[in-house]
């Protein structure tokens, strides 16, 4: 009787652990892909900031000091 109860329980746990591992691996792979793609880096802000500074310099260069 104990074996009849224990075996499905252990099998169920093993299956759950296996599924969790697969889900975990998939999620971690997704995170790694995001990191590799530069999703933690503010590239858009950098491009805009550089463009704005260049714009100010262009206007200033076209003007006399006084």
């Amino acid at each position: 009787v104990i074996r009849e109860i224990l075996v499905p329980v252990i099998e169920g746990i093993a299956k759950a652990i296996s599924t969790s591992r697969e889900a975990l691996a998939a999620e971690l792979e997704e995170i790694a892909k995001g990191v590799r793609d530069g999703k933690l880096i503010a590239n858009e802000a950098f491009t805009r900031a550089k463009h704005s500074v260049d714009r100010i310099r262009e206007v200033k260069e076209g003007l006399p000091d006084e």
């Binding site: 252990i10 746990i13 652990i17 969790s20 591992r21 975990l24 999620e27 971690l28 995170i31 790694a32 995001g34 990191v35 590799r36 530069g38 999703k39 933690l40 880096i41 503010a42 590239n43 858009e44 802000a45 950098f46 805009r48 900031a49 550089k50 704005s52 500074v53 714009r55 100010i56 310099r57 206007v59 200033k60 076209g62 003007l63 006399p64 000091d65 006084e66």
Partner: protein, 143 residues
């Protein structure tokens, strides 16, 4: 015994995975805050440049008048400070990315996340009207 070992391994890997999630979520949250704050600054800066550009403003005929029109919050020096702050932020974000990818120890990752938070605060502090304390609120529970 095998089951116990398996369960322990899973528990350990989950803890490590949770930390990677924290580091990634923290980094992504900070990036969003930095992008959003900078977008607000950039919008105002470019509106100022438009308003002060001699093409649109006949009263501006000299470099000094252009500087005066932009005001010290949006002049070349201020815009350059913001650019440098974004550069510094991105440098720390790159290192954090590398640490996550190589599966570095949590204390090293956590330290870099803290440095990223400091870099984000430095940048946000340069934006008129923005509150650097938002970084602490966003990272509550992560660090």
């Amino acid at each position: 015994m095998k089951k116990l070992l398996l369960a322990t391994t899973l528990l350990t890997s989950c803890t490590s995975a949770d930390r990677i999630r924290y580091a990634y979520a923290g980094g992504a949250t900070l990036k969003q805050a930095v992008e959003d704050t900078h977008a607000l600054y950039d919008g105002k800066l470019n509106a100022k440049i438009d308003a002060c550009d001699p093409k649109n403003n006949k009263a501006v005929t000299t470099d000094a008048q252009f500087d005066a029109c932009l005001t010290d919050r949006y002049d070349e020096a201020a815009a350059t400070r913001v650019l440098k702050a974004v550069e510094a932020y991105n440098k720390v974000a790159s290192t954090l990315s590398e640490l996550i990818l190589i599966g570095a120890e949590w204390p090293a990752v956590q330290q870099k996340l803290r440095e990223l938070a400091t870099a984000a605060k430095t940048l946000i502090a340069l934006v008129p009207g923005a509150d650097p304390a938002v970084v602490d609120r966003l990272l509550r529970g992560v660090l």
